[in-house]
Structure formats: C-alpha cells, structure tokens
Amino acid sequence: MPDPILKITGVSKSFGALKATNGVTLDLYPGEIHALIGPNGAGKSTLIKQITGEIRQDAGTIAFEGQSIDHLDAADRARIGLARTFQISQIAPDLSALKNVMLAVEARAGRVFRFFRPVSRDLDLTAAAMAFLHDAGLGERATLRAADLSHGERRQLEFAIALAMRPKVFLMDEPMAGLSPDGSKRMTAFLSDLRRTAPILLVEHDMEAVFALADRISVLVYGQVIATGTVAEIRANPEVRTAYLGDEAA
C-alpha cells in the first residue's frame, strides 16, 4: 500500500463558539477518488479551505507527499501541486477563456514577471492552453469572453485551468453544482478519467455521482468524520444512514 499523497490529521477550526471542523482525519491515495459528503453546514467547505491554505487550522496537521504544509500559504500550496476547483467558477470575466488558461500555464511555468513579450504571440502559452481547453471540452469556445460562457462552459473552463496547473492533487468543491442531468453525466465521465492524472478529493452533494465515482467515501457531520469506507460500506453503515442518507440508499 503506497503512502497517502495527502494526509490530514486531527484538523480543527472554531469560529467563536462554533466548531466548524473538529479533529478531522482523512487521507488521499494516488489514483483514487475520495468523496467527502455530509449535510449542509457539516464543515466540508471549511475543511477544503484549510487544506488549500485559505484558513489556518487551530489544531492538527496537513501533510502533502509526506511533508507538513502547515506553514505554507495558499499560493505556495497551489504551486507545490494542490489544485482547487471552486463551487462557483472562479474566472476572470473580462478575459477570454484562452487567456484564463494561458495564465494558469504561465503561473505553472513560474514565469509571471515578464514584461516585454506580448502573450498573444507567445506560442508556447497559447498552444499549451488550447490543449488543456480541448481536454476540458471547451476547444471551440476558447476565444470567447469568459463572462459570455454558459454556466456549464464556465465549469469546463474551471477544469481547464485546474488541468493547466498540472497538479498532483485535485480538491474539488461540488463540481456538479448547477449542471443539467446531461452535463452531470459528462462531468462524471470526465472525473472518472481524471483520477488517472491525479487523485481527487471530491466534496459533493450529488449522491448518484458520488456512488458512481468514489473509491472511498468519508462522511462529515458537525465537523467530525463519522465514517470512512468504500461505497458499499458507507451505504450499509447504520450511523451514516440515520445521519445523512435517510432510507434513500437501500
């Protein structure tokens, strides 16, 4: 059994009297999709923010590739290989989809402070960005202004950006949110393939997608992980049933 690429141990964060995350322990292995589910307000967003570095945890430690990353800020964590996709697509609305991805390519290469060469003539950037846009299914719409893209297309742009970062881990916050049933099917297929590029920690509400994709599932309730296991194990788990699934998954 290889080492986990991401290891979260005893991570807690309180906001005043509210314990958003309370001693959360979970890990992510190469090649897997580990889904994180739980009712609203369970602390999933807080946990993601703690992993990406947006919020500093009160206790516990987060290790990436065996090394603690607690002292690294969000930008550094992105640079070492943690790519995040947001629940609401985060893009630059006035830039074209292509330029959005080109920036990700540029950032990955570490050559941001270059002042003289125009990006539009930078063939390395444009070619690489187009490739990622194709992978995400947005090749045809590359030159459109990001603000003019549909909701589903913005999701695709979100993923093209994530791909362009050549990450070692994907942290995905509700990628299915707002997608049509057709879009969800395509996204599910896309994510299933994606786990070969890098493992995915997937926060999601869409149970159909979760059961179709997840290698393992962790259930978060009131800031604590009440169960971790395979799809079958979780479905059978009585605690999970009462806390979250109801009698939906029989």
Binding site: A78, F86, A92, F113, F116, S120
Partner: protein
C-alpha cells in the same frame, strides 16, 4: 485596424499637430498648453497602470508627482546656486542635466512607492483609498514644513534644465522632448499590459482568489504595478517642474491626486490613451472655462459629475462603444 487604434493614433497625431501649428503661427503659449497636456497625460498613463489595469484606486499618486518635481527642483537649484546637496561623507553637487534628473526622479519615487505600496496593499477597497491618501498627505505636510526647499512657497528653477545641446527653453523643443517621453512611456505601458505580467495583473484585478489558487500572489503583482506607475508619474512630475520652472507643495496635494484620477476617468479607464485624452480635455476646459469665469471649477465639477454618473466608459467608451479589454 480597430476603431480604437485609429482613435489613438489620431489623438497622438492631433497633439503633435496642435503644437506644430501653434509654433508656426507664433503662439508659444499654445505650445506650452500642449506640453502641459502631454505631461499630465503622461502622469495619467502612469496612474492608469495601477488604477485602470490593476484596479488599485490610489488617491495618493500626487506624492510621486511631487517627488519627481522636487527631485528636479532640488537638483537644479543646487546646481544653479552652486550649493552642493551634501558635503559629507561625499560631495554631491546638483545638476541641471535632464537625464540625470529624470533618473533620480524615477528611482526616488520607486524607492518611496515600495514601502507605501507594501503597507497599503495589505488592505483593499475603501481602506486602500484612504491609506494612499493619508500617505500622500504625510509627504505633503513634510514638504510644507521643511524650510530648506522653500516650504509652502515652493522652489524656483531659474533656467530650464539641459539636454545635450538642445535649446530646451524653446517651447517647441521642450514639447518634442516631452512628446518623445510620452511615446516611450506609452509604449512601455502597452508592452507591460500585453505581457505575461499584464495578464497576471488583469487577473489580480478581476479575480484575485483565482490568481492565488494558480500559485501567484496578487500582492506581488499589485505592488509591482504600483511601483512602476509611481515611477512613470514621477517622470511626469520632473517634467512639470521643468515646464513651469517651479515646484511647490501643491504638486503633492490630494487635489492633484484627484485630478489624475479624473484624467483617467474622463478618457476611459483601462484604455492606453484614455489618460491623454482626459488630460487634454482637462487642460482645454481649464483654459477655456477659465476665460469665461474665475469659478471655472464649478462647471468642471458638474461636467465631471455627469461623466461619472452617465458616461462610465469615458470619452473612448463613448466613441468606440465598448468597455474594457479581452
């Protein structure tokens, strides 16, 4: 060629034409006016990098305009009065050489902009506006109180500074020098905004969260833009001091900071030549309205208010009908 490019070239050509025509018809005052427009336009172009492209609403850029002006004033007056700036630990004479003055102005502004930007950029939104304003005020009051360089009365430079063998006192010659620098700064700004840095800056303005998640710190990008814009504005300040052969604390006042923002808005935010149009319009209004009434700032205020409320894209927005850049 896009509508905007045609407009841009027309503006530049127009400014040049005005100066040449004025010179040939024996109206040196108009040449000076055109020079003033060019200098203020240069300052606006500098501010636009931080404000229009970077989204940093700095209400303190007069500080850098003034630093440029005072660099010119102090160096020139030291040379003209035969009083060195420093005698210990080494003797630093003044100079009336324009290139040295420009370099000093630009470097001094950059050095001051670094800590101001570093502190101010830890905040955003309204805080940033107020903090940049306050820092500029600090420098303003310092200039007023420090007696060595004229205090409130300002500092006179008797003869215009030198550039090789050119007759810099000749209005047209000076205009051409300024115009050349304007083209240079415009070119550099255009390059910067189209470069990789420019792309990062655009993202820093539109979605800093996304930029961070790409592994780039918005703070660094913004600070760079802030410092570069300060340096450009300082160059304009040095030229302005040379134009008027006078520098005073009013170059550091927050009114000037406001006017710089006005140039950018009037012409169109985030457009390369917007500030030049805005500055030219402002100079024109000032001279024309000023002839009608001594209370010319009243109609100016009304016009500005109407532009802000109803013509958001500025003049260029009105002419080309489109906003921002993709």
């Amino acid at each position: 060629m896009s509508r905007e490019t045609v407009l841009n070239l027309a503006i530049l050509a127009g400014l040049l034409a005005v100066a040449l025509t004025a010179h040939l018809s024996g109206e040196p005052f108009l040449v000076t006016l055109a020079t003033k427009a060019a200098i203020l336009g240069l300052a606006g172009v500098g501010l636009n990098l931080a404000l229009g492209y970077g989204g940093l609403v700095s209400f303190g850029h007069a500080a850098f305009f003034g630093i440029g002006g005072y660099a010119a004033g102090i160096l020139a007056s030291a040379a003209q009065n035969y009083e060195p700036l420093m005698t210990w630990p080494l003797e630093l004479p003044g100079t009336t050489s324009m290139p040295i003055i420009w370099a000093t102005a630009v470097i001094a502004a950059g050095l001051v902009a670094l800590p101001i930007g570093a502190l101010s950029l830890r905040t955003g939104g309204v805080h940033f506006i107020m903090i940049t304003l306050a820092f500029a005020q600090m420098i303003y009051y310092f200039a007023i109180s420090w007696p060595a360089y004229g205090g409130e009365d300002g500092l006179s430079i008797y003869v215009r500074n030198t550039l090789g063998t050119l007759d810099t006192m000749d209005p047209l010659t000076f205009f051409l020098i300024v115009f050349a620098l304007l083209l240079l700064v415009l070119g550099l700004t255009l390059m910067a905004t189209r470069s990789r840095f420019g792309l990062a800056l655009a993202m820093a303005r539109q979605n800093p969260l996304r930029l961070t998640s790409m592994g780039v710190r918005p703070f660094r990008v913004r600070l760079t833009a802030f410092v570069l814009s300060a340096m450009a504005v300082a160059l304009a300040g040095a030229l302005y001091a040379d134009l008027n052969r006078f520098v005073s604390p009013s170059m550091l006042s927050w009114h000037l900071s406001g006017e710089l923002i006005v140039f950018v808005i009037l012409g169109g935010v985030g457009r390369p030549l917007g500030p030049l149009i805005g500055a030219a319009l402002y100079v024109l209004l000032e001279s024309q309205l000023g002839q009608l009434t001594e209370y010319w700032q009243l109609p100016l205020g009304i016009i500005l208010l109407l532009v802000v409320l109803f013509a958001r894209g500025g003049v260029i927005g009105l002419v080309t009908g489109r906003n921002a850049n993709a």
